[in-house]
């Protein structure tokens, strides 16, 4: 069988053709949103490759379609997308094509089209959307995907998307796939899993609820099934609920809690449980939208800067925006919002559950790390008079005093995120923190995973568009700890002040001390840039 490549312009007629390819003549919000996103990212040319053997569809085919009485096609089509007409590139010799890097500059990703009517959109890799100031998109869960056209290797960075195939799974399986695939591709700490495989893991052992539909699990998963699947896939699942047993929202806000994991570069599965017996829905959050200026709402956590989560919804399409509140919805492009009863769906109003596929060695929740960091800061503020008097330089003493005065007034916003010791040191090393303090911090022994809590004022704007916000200090908490909270904090940097805690004191002191601290006052210090993740 020969491979065929067909190019077409993505003008109005081309976009309609692509939509029909994805949804037939039926109305499909997912296909419409997908094509709109493709056009929005600047795609003007498509190349359809067929037949294409897609690993994910092959796995689903093996699990279900191969044994069906009706014949189902085994191959898929793949549509590559470009920002300009690249048909000239195909006229070159194959050797010239491989050498010519220009095609990569125009590559915007691909969509696999499955030969099934109930969910044609297969594995899809597209770029993140872009926004103009005063809003910007921050990328959380993403991966670099390589694809090949003839003999040439192309690359795209994005968050993988897939539509649910109702014969094999529901939104829950699609969300697990969209959350776990970038983790697999980026970190290689978990194995590759198809939708069929996820369903198998979630439904083993099976139970009464799963058995109400055939095949088992195809009509949806409850939270326990999701947790079971994530664990079996090699993640350490973390579940958090945002409704009390009577269905009322808890005091802990979903946006505040979920934000810390998203800001750690982790995908978050958001559950929206139906109220009064309605059908629940699950989506995958893969980024967020923040303001480029100062804080837009009161509060002491980083969601004060955030308008929305960027989500993949297998029913509404890729790269949708989920506003945190009703007020935020008014500041976002309406065409990317989800609606229910003509009202925008929001995190505050709809999200009831959160599932995070954490690395297996992380034993401390973000909320606890944040509480420990906040508590340490407040305890330091209680002795701030004595601390400032220790400084031999009165100007340094005044700076310390001024900082803690703001702490007491609740002027700082805490941004807590998970990182590795290596990435933490890398960020510090390349940043503009005082060199002496930097050296002291990067030469300290740390566990592999740490929670970092940055401190910034609510007026801290992005220094450049999509750039860092200036911070005045930060704290480091041991993410691999799960025992005594007093042993969680490892280091703290406040203006002119550096505190290091050794949680493994010398053996001869362990009867008297759980930990020992060293505190140092530095003559030079200034605000420095906070952590910025990949800018696409």
């Amino acid at each position: 069988m020969r491979l065929s490549l067909t190019g077409f312009r993505l003008d109005e007629a081309g976009a309609q053709t692509l939509k029909r390819m994805l949804a037939g003549d039926r109305s499909s919000p997912c296909a419409e949103a997908l094509v709109a996103h493709i056009v929005d990212t600047g795609a003007s040319f498509a190349v359809m490759e067929e037949p294409y053997t897609d690993q994910d569809y092959s796995s689903d085919y093996l699990a279900f379609y191969a044994s069906a009485f009706k014949d189902h096609q085994r191959d898929t089509r793949r549509v590559h997308l470009f920002s300009k007409d690249v048909s000239g590139w195909f006229e070159k010799t194959l050797a010239e094509q491989v050498k010519d890097a220009e095609i990569q500059d125009h590559y915007l990703g691909f969509v696999v089209v499955r030969p099934i009517r109930q969910g044609a959109i297969g594995r899809t890799f597209l770029r993140f959307p872009d926004l103009k100031a005063p809003l910007c998109v921050r990328v959380a869960a993403r991966a670099t995907c390589h694809s090949h056209i003839l003999g040439t290797k192309l690359e795209i960075v994005g968050a993988p998307f897939i539509q649910q195939d109702r014969r094999l799974g529901a939104c829950a399986q699609a969300s697990i796939w969209m959350a776990s695939r970038p983790v697999h591709m980026r970190h290689r700490r978990t194995a590759w899993h198809s939708i069929a495989e996820i369903t198998r893991l979630a439904t083993t052992p099976t139970d009464g609820e799963l058995s109400q539909e055939l095949p088992a699990g195809s009509s949806g998963l409850n939270p326990l099934h999701i947790i079971r699947a994530l664990k079996a896939m090699g993640h350490q699942p973390l579940q958090h609920g945002f409704r009390d047993s009577d269905g009322k929202p808890t005091a802990t806000k979903a946006c505040e809690v979920a934000m810390r994991y998203l800001d750690s570069g982790l995908p978050v599965i958001l559950g929206m449980a139906g109220v009064n017996g309605e059908i629940g829905h699950a989506i995958a959050a893969i980024g967020y939208i923040e303001t480029t200026g100062d804080a837009i709402k009161p509060g002491d956590s980083y969601d004060s800067f955030v308008r929305a989560f960027v989500i993949h919804d297998d029913q509404s399409g890729p790269y949708r925006y989920l506003p945190l509140t009703d007020e935020d919805a008014g500041h976002l492009p309406r065409e990317r919002l989800l609606f229910k009863d003509s009202k925008p769906v929001t995190v505050e109003g709809s999200v009831t559950h959160m599932f995070v596929p954490l690395p297996p060695r992380v034993f401390l929740r973000a909320e606890r790390a944040d509480i420990v960091a906040r508590d340490f800061l407040n305890l330091q503020a209680m002795i701030s008079n004595k601390l400032s008097r220790e400084a031999s330089d009165p100007a340094v003493g005044a700076a310390i005093e001024a900082f803690f005065a703001k702490v007491k007034e609740g002027k700082f916003i805490r941004r807590t995120y998970l990182t590795t010791a290596g990435r933490y040191r890398h960020h510090l090393a390349k940043g503009d923190l005082n060199e002496l303090i930097k050296i002291e911090l990067v030469t300290r022994q740390l566990p592999h995973f740490i929670w970092v809590t940055e401190l910034m004022e609510s007026s801290s704007e992005q220094v450049t568009f999509k750039g860092a916000r200036n911070i005045v200090g930060h704290m480091v908490v041991n993410a691999t700890s799960s025992t005594e909270p007093s042993n969680d904090l490892l280091a703290a940097h406040f203006p002119h002040l550096l505190i290091h805690r050794n949680i493994n004191p010398p053996r001869d002191k362990r009867d008297e001390l759980d930990f020992e601290e060293s505190a140092e006052i530095y003559p030079q210090d200034a605000p420095y840039g906070g952590r910025v993740r990949l800018d696409l």
Partner: protein, 134 residues
Amino acid sequence: MPYKHDMGLNAAFQGLLLENDPRTGVFNPRLTTARATSGGFRQFYKPGHICNSLVNCRVAAVTNKSENGQKMGLLKNIETKDLTPSGDRSGVQLVDLRAIGFTGYVSDAALNEIELNEVRANLVLTTATKFAFR
């Protein structure tokens, strides 16, 4: 700053790769280290070489210092340079936090908050099977 993240060694500590002390029957990392660093392995795996096996990861670790800060014996007989970054610390002042009243323990209010947070998560788990995400 000793290196603690080697997965091979950590796996060994978790009992996946055991070299038991023949006298006690218990895993003895020191014994394994001694074998790794004294045998023919060093001819093949230079200091700094990273690989997954326990034996070789310990070879990678011999460039570091031992627990009490003394240079390991192997480095005593060769010329070495201290590459640890440092700066002019003449203006840096030490503060004894205990002397000014800081005990370092997490406050009772924070402990209660941590406990409440975890209890809340458990509450939701009990209602987890009443619906499904479709």
